[in-house]
């Protein structure tokens, strides 16, 4: 049974954080996320990878409603939730305050800023404030935990939902088979902002995700990481299969893991030698399984995956050539920040 701590007590206890919270994660036990949910590992991996005090903002969604249920909190770090649309705008405000107060000498600590949002709060309703916050150049990392739908409200479609998938607002009927449109490629859109660092990651390769967070934090300015987060409840697979689903997504190239620096240099981190057919990934998810009866939809999904994969590889080749032309060491550009530290 997880221990519950009231907000006020937590604030008092936090003074002696090292003794009292020794060994605890940034997201403490006692949250109310579903068994098998991919969010807690994502949040903990991200925050543990940052080696300084971190202020977190969160959009409304699964993460928010399960971690800060008054009068309890699961957050071991300063945290704010404003609303669905505002994770990026709110952390931008916190960061702006930090800059001024630091300039005035009222704060001395070195503090990091992270915003979390689900795909609804990131791809859809929060997209305007996210795009604007990165355009303004706030120094923060935005992490999207992408479970491809509005899971907190009972699985409605978002613009991250793949074509053919069943949701409450895209049911399977005689005229329409699930969602009609392909998913929005937000990672590409964020890369087009030309911000210092953009990446796509998966929680099952935790070394890759934490390395990407460390890498992201070496840049000043806006950073964006999109992580797939298989939702056991709405995708309807067994809770112990979360990481298996994430792995399948990468092995089928459905969810390529890659990183982009300054919107210019691209690197695909995992290249499956023998990619699995998308049917295997679809088959594992009852939300989507019905499309296997429609070969034309499966073919369309496979084509989208192949096209995007080839596009990514082309971008990678182009950026290698570009780096060479500019006299930049392509490999050093993507080097693990910890390796760099070792060299120094």
């Amino acid at each position: 049974m997880a221990k519950k701590v009231t907000i006020q007590v937590l604030a008092d206890l936090a003074q002696e954080r090292d003794e009292k919270f020794h060994g605890h994660n940034p997201l403490a036990p006692g949250h109310r996320m579903c068994i098998g949910c991919g969010i807690p590992p994502i949040v903990n991996e991200v925050l543990l990878a940052i080696d300084k005090p971190t202020v977190v903002s969160t959009a409304t969604g699964c993460l928010e409603v399960t971690t800060g249920v008054y009068p309890y909190t699961a957050w071991n770090t300063p945290w704010i939730h404003v609303n669905f649309q505002s994770a990026a705008a709110a952390i931008g405000g916190v960061e702006a305050a930090y800059k001024v107060l630091k300039k005035k000498g009222l704060i001395n600590e070195d503090i990091a800023f992270v915003a979390f949002g689900g795909d609804g709060g990131t791809y859809d309703i929060g997209f305007q404030s996210l795009s604007a916050a990165v355009e303004r150049g706030h120094d923060f990392l935005y992490v999207c935990y992408n479970n491809e739908g509005y899971q907190n409200t009972g699985y409605q479609k978002s613009s991250a939902t793949p074509i053919g998938a069943y949701t409450k607002t895209t049911p399977v009927g005689k005229e329409k088979i699930g969602k009609q449109e392909p998913r929005k490629d937000l990672t590409m859109i964020m890369a087009a902002h030309g911000i210092p660092y953009v990446a796509q990651a998966s929680p099952h390769i935790y070394r890759d995700l934490t390395r990407k967070v460390k890498k992201a934090m070496t840049f000043k300015g806006p950073k964006f990481i999109n992580t797939l987060q298989p939702c056991t409840l709405s995708w309807r697979f067994a809770p112990e299969d979360t990481m298996r689903l994430a792995k399948l997504a990468v092995e089928t190239r459905y969810w390529p893991v890659y990183e982009v620096i300054n919107g210019k240099y691209w690197k695909v981190n995992v290249k499956p030698k023998r990619p699995k057919p998308i049917e295997e990934y679809i088959e594992a998810q009852p939300r989507w399984r019905h499309v296997l009866k429609y070969p034309e939809i499966v073919a369309q999904i496979q084509k989208e995956i192949d096209d995007k994969w080839n596009h990514l590889l082309a971008l990678e080749e182009m950026s290698k050539a570009l780096a060479e032309k500019e006299g930049i060491d392509y490999e050093a550009l993507f080097a693990n920040p910890e390796d760099k530290k070792g060299e120094e």
Binding site: V55, I80, V82, G93, S129
Partner: protein, 396 residues
């Protein structure tokens, strides 16, 4: 303390107050007639005359979200908007007050669409009246300047956000003489910035706090009750700050301003820039020997119930002049507020509601005189009414 009198528009006077207060963060998004206010302020920022980080956001919703983040971080924060911009940020106004954050918002009053109008009425402000924000109305540039300076102190003492209203174009763009304090006086009055102006700043990383939790039915009521109880303490805090302000400025402010109400049988009530016109109407009628008076509401939220009840305790007839309609068959927002305030008065005043000045329509003395005439005839039974609310200024 030294002061100087200079010719300024309302927007310039407010920008001057913002410069003197030296806010830590200003979230900025353009909308007429507020736009030039932040334009003036941007020049102070560009010239390094203030330390403010100006966050030029992509919309009013994010403007308030950024203010919430910055205020929770521990910074002194301001934003400004008008009309539809206020409507767009309403969701976040409730969040700011629910989190008890001392934010200042300037509402350069503007009408709401449709039809689109960039000119003044109080429809925008009425969207904020139940949002848990303290609301101050300004009659002119001088009051806008004073209210803005006082608002910082009120917000930080009360731990509630404050809206300072002044009328779009009529105040924001008209030039008048404004008495400006020297910078030291203002800075001393509002006090220095610092993250511990609020008890639990986000940036105090040694004490992690949670802002914006979810509350289930088991706790939501208690949270709102605390907010309710504390909001009632705002009266004393505003009075305290008005008193402190008087000690530095010699200028005495109260929740309401009374004009010739002592022996008045008929009293007109308005807010904002039209009060001068209302006083003119009173002067004209007084010259004719009629016992009339006028009241201006300065503190709109929380509503000055006791002060108004007292001021209206002997009135035979009351004309409530609303610069916004509610379209509900009951009357304008101010009308309902006034009716509630006098509910327990011994005498039964006749209260009648007039809507005027919508979408920037210019208001003349004769129209307010018509309102006084109508109330007097209703009260004497010479005329009757079908509705509690009537429009002034409608073309036949």
């Amino acid at each position: 303390m030294s002061t100087k009198v200079i010719a300024l528009t309302g927007n310039q006077a407010a920008a001057e107050a913002m410069r003197q207060i030296n806010f830590d963060v200003a979230a900025v998004y353009p909308i007429s007639p507020q736009t030039e206010l932040m334009g003036f302020f941007a020049e102070y920022v560009a010239n390094g005359e203030v330390d403010t980080d100006m966050v030029a956001v992509e919309g009013e919703h994010s403007a308030m979200a950024a203010c919430i983040g910055a205020a929770a971080a521990g910074a002194r924060v301001i934003t400004a908007s008008a009309g539809p911009g206020i409507a767009y940020m309403v969701e976040n106004l409730y969040i700011a007050s629910g989190m008890r954050l001392p934010i200042v918002l300037i509402d350069v009053n503007r009408a709401l669409s449709a039809p689109l109008s960039i000119h003044c009425d109080h429809g925008d402000s009425m969207l904020t009246r139940d949002s848990g924000w303290i609301s101050l109305f300004s009659e002119n540039a001088q009051e806008a300047y004073h209210n803005l300076i006082m608002s910082v102190k009120i917000a930080e003492k009360a731990m509630f956000p404050v809206i300072v209203n002044y009328d779009g174009y009529i105040v924001s763009h008209s030039i008048e003489n404004v008495e400006i304090f020297d910078d030291e006086t203002v800075r001393e009055f509002v006090g220095p910035s610092g993250i511990h102006r609020i008890p639990y700043p986000l940036l105090d990383v040694s004490k992690p706090v949670t802002y914006g939790a979810t509350a289930q039915p088991d706790y939501y009521t208690e949270c709102k009750y605390q907010q309710h109880v504390d909001f009632l303490k705002v009266y004393d805090i505003v009075r305290e700050v008005f008193n402190e302000f008087e000690s530095i400025s010699g200028k005495r402010y109260d929740f309401i301003e009374e004009y010739m109400t002592e022996d008045a049988e008929y009293i007109g009530i308005s807010m904002g820039s039209s009060f001068g016109t209302l006083k003119d109407a009173v002067n004209t009628l007084r010259a004719q020997g009629r016992k009339v008076g006028a009241i201006k509401i300065r503190l709109y939220r929380p509503f000055p119930v006791k002060e108004l009840a007292q001021a209206l305790s002997k009135a035979k007839g009351i004309a409530v002049l609303d610069r916004a309609d509610s379209f509900d068959g009951i009357g304008g927002p101010l009308f309902k507020d006034v009716c509630t305030a006098i509910l327990h008065n011994q005498n039964r005043s006749l209260v009648h509601n007039f809507i005027y000045g919508l979408g920037g329509r210019e208001i003349h003395e004769e129209e307010f005189i018509k309102a006084f005439d109508r109330v007097e005839r209703l009260e004497k039974g010479v005329e009757t009414r079908d509705n509690l609310v009537e429009y002034l200024q409608v073309r036949a």
